[in-house]
Amino acid sequence: MPVPILRLDDVLVASIQAALTDQDLLQLRDDLSEKVGRFRARGVIVDVTALDVLDSFATRTVRGIAYTARLRGARTVVVGIQPDVAFAMVQLGLTLEGVATALDLDEGLALLRRDAP
């Protein structure tokens, strides 16, 4: 199931609607990378509220999304990590190293606006 990507001015918002397969996650990474270029986006928000786990594969892919976006001039904020998902990540020592996080979409947008050059 593809993840819808919306455009809010110069920010792309990918809101994950349900648990994703590995293939769906890779598709999201590729779609975002393409759209960052096409729309000259300065920010990317990945809303993971509906994502059930951030396991090793998902964490790696989300980091990949953020690094790719950064190389193309956009900053990424991951929003909506659920408490149980966060617990598991902490237990694993998994981090979204270098990727900004925020509680929800509004805070994510505020973060991007505040830090905009």
């Binding site: 397969t21 059930d52 951030l54 090793s56 408490p83 998902v85 617990f87 598991a88 237990q91």
Partner: protein, 139 residues
């Protein structure tokens, strides 16, 4: 906490494609919630199932996940079995280490699953297959 189990709960889930990984971990989470596991535990269970189910797809092709709820030593346990008849793991010791992967992965799957669960074991025979057994105790 729900009452005593009248009979053991057991669910068998075939794993042969990526969607099965999602189904298995969703089922594990639901079962854990229904059995009164805490939020921190349900996330751990779902994540660990995701890792071992993905290993079946990536390294063995097909297999199955069996979820079971048992009463043991005065507490309730959720038991996850992941088994396949794939190629097996030649060097289990190394496979359990962080960063060891024969498939270009991060090599974090097995070690993560071990950290997330209360008990963890792997039995593997080259040419025959692999069985991972892991348990989480209801606090």
């Amino acid at each position: 906490m729900t009452g005593r189990l009248s009979e053991p709960l057991r669910v068998r889930l075939p794993v042969s494609e990526e969607l099965d990984v999602v189904l298995a971990r969703t089922c594990g989470r639901e079962l854990a919630l229904q059995q009164g596991f805490r939020e921190a535990a349900t996330g751990a269970i779902a994540t660990a199932i995701s890792e071992v189910a993905r290993n079946i797809i990536v390294h063995a092709g097909t297999g199955e996940i069996v979820l079971e709820v048992v009463e043991g030593r005065g507490r309730r346990e959720l038991v996850v079995l992941a088994r396949d008849r794939g190629p097996g793991i030649p060097d289990l010791h190394r496979a359990m280490e962080d960063g060891y992967s024969t498939a270009g992965g991060l090599g974090l799957g097995l070690s993560s699953a071990r950290r997330l669960m209360d008990e963890f074991g792997v039995v593997s025979t080259v040419g025959k297959g692999t069985m991972v057994t892991m348990k989480k105790w209801a606090a």
